[in-house]
């Protein structure tokens, strides 16, 4: 039975896959991964964006939306689209302002009982050690321009040279922590100025650092291979490229707006400003975006190392006792040149993931040796009061979604609605009753990010799992949260 939302007709393909047939300039159909129960939360604006993305020149297969879909700029959040390198376009709207916003999960050898007596102190120390909040700066000595160049062109390798981490961290980061196409000379002076003192800072909004415990294991074999066990303490970090990336996106929304006119590209939304992938403007954006991606991986690398140091100091442990290591680092907002199956042939495409996570299958050549048998760890954070998930990429993802999955819960409530709903409540106390300690700059941030404002991430992950896009491996529960 087809379903119509705000005049947009969705045809059910499988239990959790719905299709929008091409119309009004769409070059491919739209495909939305969502359960029938979650459809009531869809207001139509995000579906219109799925249709707009389908109008991009060179788009192949489908304009895709993951179950955490919501209204974004140009692309919906939770949107995935691949365009042919030969005749397709690249769009900053398909990446977003926070370029390479992403998450990483670090494992420890500790059990919850090992840290429980010092958890409160640990959270305080982490909060003091890692700059959070609006315009946060100063975690490490202010960079010189030459250092910023190295960060943007070599990524995580720069952090390792400075003593922030180990070779394993690089192995366990998407793209091994560096997009080689990065070119600092493509980055504007304004972006350099905006990013130079923000490395090693968490920022504000939905960014966080959480200490979590592994609550449930769904796939024993993969969990063992990943090094996960029930009761284990882990650390999850969510942040991105800070002002460096915001400015690069802003610069290129304008520049590619001009390119859109130059190449006579007809677009339904100005925020989809784009240029041919192989044009001078497209390449300039790609090199600049890659610079911001490298900044973001380095940012998360430094924050993780600062966190590790606080664990060692607060818990009076040796590294051999802590056994701290990165499981994986995934990007949520990025465009990459990858090879995928299009019309029965392997083609080079530019995959835009905007609020979507790469989910590569076992055996993929871009994965490190340690994940060749299991598939890529796919990290899906939820809200600070409930849970997050570790999953694994599958072959179905390679075939259906360009190796992509959802990235989180997706907002249910606006910021103003959240502030109204939080009035008169003691959110810190409510979380404490659940055994979760939170340290944040302001009460408004806690209200805007409180558990009820997001969808239940379990239902989002279930759609992906039931569709065969990912395999659930483990569920994590927060113990302590720091936020900006």
């Amino acid at each position: 039975m087809p379903l119509t939302i705000k005049g947009i007709t969705l045809q059910q393909i499988t239990e959790c896959v719905w299709e929008i047939a091409p119309e009004k300039g769409m070059r491919v159909p739209g495909r939305v991964y969502i359960s029938p129960e979650m459809l009531s939360g869809i207001n139509g604006e995000e579906l219109k964006q799925v249709m707009n993305v389908a109008c991009l020149p060179g788009i192949v297969n489908y304009s895709l939306a993951m179950p955490d879909i919501h209204w974004g700029y140009g692309f919906p959040i939770g949107g995935v689209a691949a365009t042919r390198v030969s005749d397709g376009v690249i769009s900053p709207g398909g990446v977003g302002y926070d370029i390479n916003c992403g998450v990483r999960l670090a494992l420890t050898g500790l059990n919850y009982t090992d840290i429980q007596p010092k958890l409160e102190q640990l959270i305080k120390n982490l909060y003091n050690a890692i700059p959070t909040g609006v315009g946060a700066r100063g975690a490490i000595s202010k960079l010189q321009l030459n250092d910023l160049k190295k960060v943007s062109e070599t990524g995580v390798s720069w952090a390792l040279e400075q003593g922030f981490g180990t070779q394993n961290d690089k192995e366990c980061t998407e793209e091994f922590g560096c997009m080689k196409e990065a070119d600092f000379s493509a980055v504007s002076q304004k972006a350099k100025e905006r990013g130079i003192d923000q490395l090693g800072t968490l920022g504000s909004g939905n960014h966080f650092l959480e200490i979590e415990v592994v609550r449930e294991i769904y796939d024993e074999e993969i969990a063992r291979s990943y090094g996960l066990f029930k009761g284990q303490v882990v650390v999850q970090i969510h942040t991105g490229s800070r002002g460096f990336g915001y400015q690069i996106c802003d610069d290129f929304v304008k520049q590619l707006g001009e390119a859109t006119k130059k190449y006579k590209i007809d677009l339904p939304d100005r925020q989809l400003a784009c240029a041919p992938v192989d044009s001078e403007e497209g390449e300039l954006y790609f090199r600049s975006m890659a610079s911001a991606a490298n900044f973001a991986w380095t940012n998360r690398q430094i924050i993780m190392e600062l966190a590790k140091r606080e664990f060692l100091k607060t818990l009076h442990l040796q590294q051999s006792d802590l056994r701290f290591r990165l499981l994986y680092d995934v990007s949520h907002n990025i465009a990459k040149i990858e090879k995928h199956l299009v019309d029965g042939k392997i083609e080079s495409v530019c995959v835009h993931r905007k609020g979507a996570t790469r989910a590569f299958a076992p055996g993929h050549p871009d994965l490190p040796n340690m994940y060749q048998l299991t598939g890529q760890p796919v990290l899906i954070p939820g809200d600070m009061g409930r849970y997050s998930f570790v999953c694994a990429g599958t072959q179905s993802a390679m075939e259906a979604t360009f190796g992509s999955s959802c990235h989180g819960a997706g907002r249910l409530m606006s910021r103003s609605m959240a502030l109204t709903a939080a009035k008169g409540r003691n959110l810190i106390g409510e979380l404490r009753e659940k055994g979760i300690i939170i340290q944040a700059k302001g009460n408004d941030t806690i209200a805007e990010e409180m558990p009820g404002v997001y969808k239940d991430v379990a239902s989002v992950v279930d759609v992906m799992h039931r569709s065969g896009i990912i395999r659930k491996v483990a569920k994590l529960r927060p113990l302590g949260v720091i936020k900006g």
């Binding site: 919501h70 700029y73 140009g74 959040i77 905006r194 920022g203 925020q271 910021r415 103003s416």
Partner: protein
């Protein structure tokens, strides 16, 4: 107030309305400032003459706000007074203004929200016969 906020799923939609294009600009600055900083009392410590040009009014307003956002994020300078010296709508939209800034390295201005950028999302001026209306979405 010549501005208000419209409910938005994840970010902040700032709506300003006034009798002319040029009057809308200080309204947007006031609205943007109320999102960016807690403080309401400022000192003017620095004046700068700034020019903007754009093909449309929406683009002009967005470019202006993104630049003010940049000054706050990188230099700690918050626009506290904005005097339009020249404003033209033809042949392109152009603006020259004397912008007075407070400096949070000298005064303790409390930042409230980190605004990544002011976006073009659904930005289109509308005229209701009395006022010009424009909604700009601030990406948080």
């Amino acid at each position: 107030m010549p501005f208000d906020f419209i409910d938005h799923p994840a970010d902040i939609a700032l709506h300003a309305f006034n009798t002319s294009y040029s009057n809308l600009l200080p309204d947007f600055i006031q609205g943007w400032r109320s999102v960016a900083v807690e403080s309401t009392k400022f000192n003017s410590v620095l004046t700068q003459i700034i020019k903007w040009e754009a093909e449309s009014f929406e683009e002009l307003a967005i470019n202006m706000l993104n630049d003010l956002n940049f000054f706050l994020d990188t230099r700690g300078q918050i626009c506290v007074e904005f005097t339009i010296m020249q404003f033209h709508t033809t042949p392109i939209f152009s603006l020259e203004a004397a912008v007075q800034f407070d400096d949070n390295t000298m005064h303790d201005i409390v930042r409230k929200q980190e605004i990544k950028a002011i976006t073009f999302h659904d930005a289109a001026v509308q005229f209701d016969g009395k006022n010009y209306h424009l909604k700009l979405v601030l990406d948080i």
